[in-house]
Symmetry: C2
Subunit: 114 residues, 2 copies
Amino acid sequence: MDRRAPLSKDALELVAHRFAVLSEPMRLRLIHALFGGEMSVNALVGETGGTQANISRHLQVLAQANVLARRKDGLQVFYSIADPSIFRLCDLVCGSLEKQFSRKAGAFTGNASR
Amino acid sequence: MDRRAPLSKDALELVAHRFAVLSEPMRLRLIHALFGGEMSVNALVGETGGTQANISRHLQVLAQANVLARRKDGLQVFYSIADPSIFRLCDLVCGSLEKQFSRKAGAFTGNASR
DNA sequence: CCTATTTATGAGCATATCCACATATACTTG
DNA sequence: CAAGTATATGTGGATATGCTCATAAATAGG
C-alpha cells in the first residue's frame, strides 16, 4: 500500500461526497431521529419540524448515499439507518469537538454507542 | 442523556461544519499528504498540483476547524494534522465505502492506521 | 533600503446547495 | 372511478462555495 499513491480522483470524490452528505444540520437531525429505529417520512417531518418537501429531499440524498435504507409499505415509506459506521462516525466527531470546547457539542451522539 | 433532546441547533451546526470541512477532494488530498508529517505550503502545492492561492485558502479552512495546526518558521508556514481523530474518521469512511463497492475507494487511508 | 521569496487575501465569476411553493405520483378506501 | 393521504419532484430564488488572477503582507538576504 503506497502511502503516496495518486489517490485516484474517483476515490477522493467518493470520500468527499460521503462527508458532504453528512454536512447538513437537517440531515444530521434526521439521522439522529433514526437512531431509535425506522420511521416514516411523516413521522420524521413531525419529529424534525421541517417541511415535507425538504425532508423528502434530504432523505433521498441520504438513501442514495446508502446511509439510509428505504422500505415502502402501502402509502408510507420507512427510512432506517443502513450504514452502521454512522454511529461511530458521529461518536468520533462529537468526541473530537468535545475536546475542543470542553462544553456543548455533546448532544448529538445521544446514546448512540452500540 | 435523553436521546430525544432538542439537539441544540448549535451542536448540530458544529458537527455539520466539521463534516463540511472534510467534504472537498482537495482538502482530503492535503490531509492525506500530511499523513506523513508536517509540510510547508509550497511543498503541499507541489504535492497536490493545486495553485498556491487555492491551497492556502484550503489550509486556512482546515486550520480554523482545528483539523490542522499551523507553525510559522521564517518565511515558511508548516501545517500538520492537529486532530488525530481524522485518522480513524478516514478509516471508517473508507471501510464503509469499500463494503459498498467491493473494489476501488480504498486508496485514501494509505497506512493511516495508528 | 531594495529585492526576492513565501504565504495570505481581495474581487469576481461560475457552480452548487438549500429552501419553499406548487404540483405530480402512488396507493388505499369507499 | 372518485377522493383522500403519503411521498416525491419541478421550478425558481437566495445564499454559499470553490476557483483564478492580481496584489498585499511578512520576512530574509545582500
